[in-house]
Structure formats: structure tokens, C-alpha cells
């Protein structure tokens, strides 16, 4: 099927490959070089605080994961098994929580919880649970939805009580999905950064936060690099383990082709569904509501001051704090526009090359996915320490932050596009050629037109990623160039109710922008799903 001339493939791939080499591979190698010095390694590994931080990172992730699974199973079951009014809204809300920027989720919990516990590990775990509920609901729910309900009925006819059915039949059957969901949640919480920067206290630092602290606050670049690699090694180990575990527990279950969802029939079922759905709604709506409310809250009562005076960066006449919320909005929008443009161009070229180029294409595909597997903090850190010497001192360049964002967004653009392009019937190209079109012409007429719609989806995704990006930005952004997430973190970290309220205003705006973009993605994707296979 690869009948495109080699020059065209090279032309398509050269941009993405060069970008990946300069902005991902090079910083990564620099990071390795920084870390692989005897003193950096021994200093870091022999320090007691390192192991305290590793221990904290692990236990908060384990507790967050277990709590998310425990809290998420009931809504996953109800949403998978029952049809009821408001079901779609609830699923949408849960999903929206999942795509919210980390600092927004942190801000929402800061707004929700009373001052006594809002900067503790419990606040962090609470935010992690609400954040990741959608993972459990979607991953476990999609299996549960198609699990034959008769399997459970069969157990009941053999004398199994409801509890026994749940523990001996349902749980073992959904276990592979639970393992998968738990792995995803663990990965997210293990590498948690934005939430902890907002909600964490001095004693609650994850490896990611410590990388940032060592690199930017203490100037210990070697130590930060060792920690970044330590975390990367842990991530690789976890992913390999989960792949093996899921293969071992994989079972041939006769899944239903259609959903087993139905309306509740008995009054007991109605009560159960109402209780669980209501509780889930409360859990996701409360932090968002608190966020919006706090943006209107001042010591003297309710007021729209924080919104109307957003441009007033003077806290008292003549005294400024150096954080301008309006400027942060402008910076974010500019960055997002460029990051989206970069990600769309690179993603489009890469997708076309991947689909057209067979084995080499798969290598490019894998290479472009690497930034996804590397934490944003590691990416930002690597770029910071690589591009700091002439002639590559790009730290002050306006485009460095958007490039970092694009690096993180490209995998999403590629994933949306490649799937659609692969589904184009190869026979179409052949048909065009029999009508007299050259291979390049045939490709342009049959394959390329399918690119635009997934590319639009990818653009919306890239924009939302860029707007909310905090990990890499916290290394790359310069004073005066603060994006919204950076400004939110700084505003909420200061005392003073005006600043706090402004932080909540920015977080509300960012949440709204993200939700709008995700709704656009969903809208663009749904008719596409029906078209792609044809």
C-alpha cells in the first residue's frame, strides 16, 4: 500500500523527527548526563529526605488509588447497568472533572475545604479521587455494561446472596478492568504535581514537586535529574507489571454485543440508583460550585469585585505583586494559539507519514508517543537545562513555552488522526490510480481529505492541553510571561483575600474554557465515529 515516493515520505517526516530530536531527545540526553555523575547519585540516594519523599509519593498514590476505586465502583455499576434521567449529564460531568487542569482541581478543593484541612495530604487525596473517578467509571463501566447480567442471575439461582454474587462473581469478572483503572489512577497520582503544588504543605512533596524544588528553588540540578530518572524507572516498572498482570488475568468472557442497561424496575432499585447517582453528582459538583462561589466571596460579603477588578494589579495604591491576572489570560491565549498551531502542523505531517510509511512509520509513531510517557515536569526540566547556553539559549524566547506544550499535545493529535487515516479503504487509492491519477495525486484525493476533521479534534485537544499545562510551564515560564495556571498557583499561594479571589476567578475561567473545548471535541467526534469505518 506504500506507493508514495520516498521524497514525499521524507518531506512529511523530517519536521516531526527534527522537532522530536531537538526538543525531546536532546533534553533527555542532557538530563541523563546531569544525573549520571557519581556525586549526584550518591548524594541524592543517601539523603534521608529523598526516601521520605519517595515513601510519601508511593503511599499517597496507593491511598488515592484505593480510595478512587472504592468510591468509583458503585457509580461505575449504576451508570453501566441502569438508564435514568440525567445519566448522560452525570457521565459528562465526571469526564469534565477528569480533563480539568490540575491547578483548577487543586483550586476547587482549596475553595471547598475549610482552612483547617485545605492544605493537607487529605485534601490532596480528596482531589485525586474526584479527579480520577471518571477513569473507574469509564474503564470498569465499559466492561460492566457488557457483562451478561444472567451470569449474576445464575449465581443467585445457585443460592448466592447479593453480597456473594458481588464478591464471588462480579468482582472477579471485572477485575481486569479494575486493575487497568487502578494502574491508570496510580500513574496519575504517583506523578501528581499541580494538585500538590496548590494543596500540598511543606511535608507533602511528591518526587515531581521535589524535582521542581531542587531544580528551581535550590539549584541542585544533578539531584533533580536523579529524582526525575528515579521516577521514570518506577513508571516503566509499573507499566510493565500492569501489562503482565492484565495479560495473566485476561479471560474469555462472553460479552454482550449490546449494552445491558435498563431502567430501574423495583422501588429498591430506584432508591439505590438515586442514592448512588446523587452522591456521585454531589462529589463532582461541590468542588466546582465552591470554586465559583469563592470567586465572588470577599471578607465583607458577596461581591463581583474580583471579577471586575481583575485588571487591577495594585493591591494597595502603588503596591503591586507582579502578578497580573489579565496579562496571564492574554499570555495563556497567545501560548495556546501557538502551541495549537505547532501541534497541528507537526501532528498532521507525522500522521500522514506514519500511515503511509509502514514499519518506519510505526517507529515514528512510538517516538512521538514518548513525551506522553515522560512526565511534563521532566520535559520542562530537561528543556530548561538544555537550552540555557549560547547559541541555544532559548530560555527567553517567546516560543519555548508553546513548543513545550506542543510536545505534550502532539501525541493526542497523532492518535486522533492516525486512527481515522488508517480506516481509509486502500482500495480507494487504487481506484483513483486506475482513473489515471499518479500515486501522489491519488493519495491527495483519497487519504488527505480525511485528515481535516480529526485534525480539528486534535486542535481543540491541543488548545485545552496548552491552556491547562502546568508541569512543564512551571520550569519554562519567565517572570512577566505567567500563564493562567502559573498565576493561579501564585495567587492562591499568597495571603490576602483579594488575591485568593482573583485566583479563584482565573481558575473558574480556565475550567470554563476547558469544558467548552472538551464539549467541542465530543461534538466533533461523535458523528465522526459513524463515518470513520466506512
Amino acid at each position: 500500500m506504500n506507493r508514495l515516493p520516498r521524497w514525499l515520505l521524507v518531506a512529511l517526516a523530517i519536521g516531526p523527527v527534527t522537532g522530536l530530536a531537538i526538543f525531546y531527545a536532546w533534553p533527555f540526553v542532557t538530563l541523563l548526563a546531569e544525573a549520571v555523575t557519581a556525586t549526584a547519585i550518591t548524594d541524592t540516594l543517601s539523603r534521608r529526605s529523598t526516601w521520605e519523599i519517595v515513601w510519601f509519593t508511593v503511599w499517597q498514590a496507593v491511598v488515592s488509588t484505593v480510595a478512587t476505586i472504592v468510591v468509583g465502583l458503585a457509580p461505575a455499576y449504576v451508570l453501566a447497568r441502569f438508564d435514568f434521567r440525567g445519566r448522560t449529564v452525570l457521565v459528562g460531568l465526571l469526564t469534565a472533572m477528569f480533563v480539568l487542569p490540575t491547578v483548577v482541581m487543586g483550586a476547587a478543593f482549596l475553595a471547598l475545604l475549610p482552612d483547617s484541612i485545605d492544605r493537607t495530604v487529605w485534601a490532596v487525596i480528596g482531589a485525586h479521587v474526584v479527579f480520577n473517578l471518571a477513569v473507574v467509571v469509564r474503564v470498569v463501566g465499559s466492561l460492566w455494561e457488557h457483562l451478561p447480567t444472567d451470569m449474576e442471575a445464575a449465581a443467585a439461582t445457585l443460592g448466592a446472596s447479593r453480597w456473594k454474587v458481588a464478591t464471588q462473581i462480579s468482582m472477579p469478572l471485572v477485575r481486569p478492568a479494575v486493575t487497568a483503572a487502578a494502574t491508570i489512577v496510580f500513574l496519575f497520582t504517583f506523578t501528581s504535581y499541580g494538585v500538590i503544588r496548590i494543596l500540598g504543605a511543606p511535608g507533602t512533596r511528591t518526587i515531581e514537586v521535589e524535582v521542581w524544588r531542587r531544580a528551581t528553588q535550590l539549584g541542585d540540578v544533578g539531584g533533580a535529574a536523579v529524582l526525575a530518572l528515579l521516577q521514570l524507572a518506577a513508571l516503566v516498572a509499573i507499566v510493565s507489571w500492569s501489562t503482565v498482570a492484565q495479560r495473566r488475568h485476561a479471560r474469555a468472557i462472553g460479552l454482550l454485543a449490546t449494552s445491558a442497561r435498563r431502567r430501574p424496575r423495583t422501588s429498591g432499585e430506584y432508591r439505590f440508583v438515586a442514592l448512588i447517582a446523587g452522591a456521585a453528582l454531589l462529589v463532582v459538583a461541590a468542588p466546582l460550585a465552591a470554586l465559583v462561589l469563592r470567586s465572588f466571596s470577599t471578607p465583607t460579603g458577596w461581591s463581583t469585585t474580583a471579577w471586575t477588578d481583575l485588571g487591577e494589579s495594585e493591591i494597595r495604591p502603588g503596591i503591586r505583586l507582579g502578578i497580573d491576572p489579565v496579562e496571564a489570560v492574554v499570555n495563556s491565549l497567545t501560548n495556546a494559539a501557538w502551541a495549537t498551531a505547532f501541534a497541528v502542523i507537526v501532528g498532521a505531517l507525522a500522521s500522514l507519514a506514519i500511515v503511509a510509511a509502514g514499519r518506519a512509520g510505526r517507529a515514528l509513531d512510538g517516538g512521538l508517543m514518548l513525551p506522553l510517557a515522560t512526565s511534563a515536569v521532566t520535559i520542562g526540566f530537561g528543556m530548561l537545562i538544555t537550552f540555557d547556553t549560547a547559541p541555544f539559549d532559548w530560555r527567553a524566547s517567546w516560543w519555548l513555552v508553546p513548543v513545550g506544550h506542543a510536545l505534550i499535545a502532539v501525541p493526542f493529535v497523532v492518535r486522533t488522526c492516525v486512527g481515522v487515516l488508517r480506516s481509509v479503504d486502500p482500495a480507494l487509492v487504487g481506484a483513483a490510480e486506475t482513473l489515471g491519477a499518479s500515486p501522489v495525486r491519488a493519495w491527495r484525493a483519497t487519504v488527505v481529505p480525511y485528515l481535516w476533521r480529526p485534525l480539528a479534534v486534535g486542535a481543540a485537544l491541543a488548545a485545552s492541553i496548552s491552556l491547562g499545562e502546568f508541569g512543564a510551564t512551571s520550569f519554562l515560564s519567565r517572570s512577566g510571561g505567567e500563564t493562567m495556571p502559573i498565576a493561579i498557583e501564585q495567587l492562591l499561594g499568597r495571603t490576602g483575600s483579594v488575591l485568593q479571589a482573583q485566583g479563584f476567578v482565573l481558575a473558574t475561567l480556565l475550567a470554563a474554557a476547558t469544558v467548552v473545548l472538551v464539549v467541542i471535541v465530543e461534538r466533533l467526534q461523535s458523528p465522526l465515529a459513524g463515518r470513520a469505518g466506512r
Partner: protein, 213 residues
Amino acid sequence: MNDHPGLDLEGVTVSFGQLRVLDDTSISVGASEVVALLGPSGSGKSTLLRVAAGIITPDAGRVLVHGVDVTARPTHLRGVGMVFQDNQLFPHLSVIENVAFGPKMAGVARSERTERATRWLRRVGLPGFDDRRVTDLSGGEAKRVALARTLAAEPAVVLLDEPLTGLDRELHDRLADELATILRDTHVTALLVTHDRDEATTIADRTVQLADL
């Protein structure tokens, strides 16, 4: 027909939304009697069995097992066993664990339930299948395991929902004969749902048309 009550369904009415699937349907199966319920697909036969098993709650009507009203009882306390059309063997359990599941739920000690399960596996012609995975069984073998699993729980009433549908002709006929023998030998009360008249006459003491109820 005998006078001792086995399974009685009285005035059962079930609607799914606007669709009335069963309308004031009654049927009576005597103790140790095997009754076949005939009717075309979609006529509500399966729904009637599910009402008897307590899987579906009827809008109206009563279910009696050995003369005792069990309408309000949950499925697991009814003593009603069921063989599903697609077997519904538990894929995460071995063959013997499937068959021993009922005794396990009843609190039977491990050694005794293993022995009971082994006996039932022999009875359905599957000796030595204990540790096989249920996902590796042929259609006929899976059907036998499903039957053994239901009978090993020693239910008061056995419901069979199109148990032989989908098997090839030869296997179907052989299993129908074996099923008839096993049900007769165990003196169990059974209600069989099928759309196959020959199958009904082979297995059952008495055949009833759903349309006549």
C-alpha cells in the same frame, strides 16, 4: 398430573414499558413432574421462567414453591435452580468449582461439596473434567456442566430455558434423551421452556402451550 404442589405461577403479569409480555398467566407443575412449556420466540416463555426464579419481579401475580408463597423472596432463598440457554458458566472458575458453587453457597464443607460435584460430573458423563477451564469446553460439554451445576445445588424446582437450543441435531437428540433420564431419576420438579415440540415430548411428562395459559 399429581396433587402435590411443586411449582405454581398464579396470575403473573409483566410489562416492559408499554409492552405487556405476560398477562395474567398461570401454570402449575406437580411435585416431581416435568412440564414443557411450548411457544414461539418472543412469546414471554423466558420471562415466565425468570419470574419463577425471582430474576424479574412481576407487576402482579404469585409464585409458589411446594405450596409456599415465595413471590417476595430474593432469588437465592427460593430453592429454584435454572439452566440458562447460554449456560452462564462462571469463566473465572474451573469446571468442578462451577459445579460445587451451589453447595458452597449452601455452606457445605469443602470435601463434601467436591465429592458431590465429582459425582454430578460423572452423572452427566464428564468424569475427569474437574480441573478443565470452562472456556475450553465444547458446546455439549458446557451444557452438561451447566446441568450438573444446577442439579448439584439440589433445588426444589429446576427451570430450563431452551437448554438444547443451538446444538447440532445429533448432539441435541442425544442430550434430550439423557436430560429426560436424569430429570426422571432425580425426581425433580422441572419446568422446561422450548420451541421444539419433539424435544418437549422427549423430555417432559406433559406439554403446555403458552398461548393456552
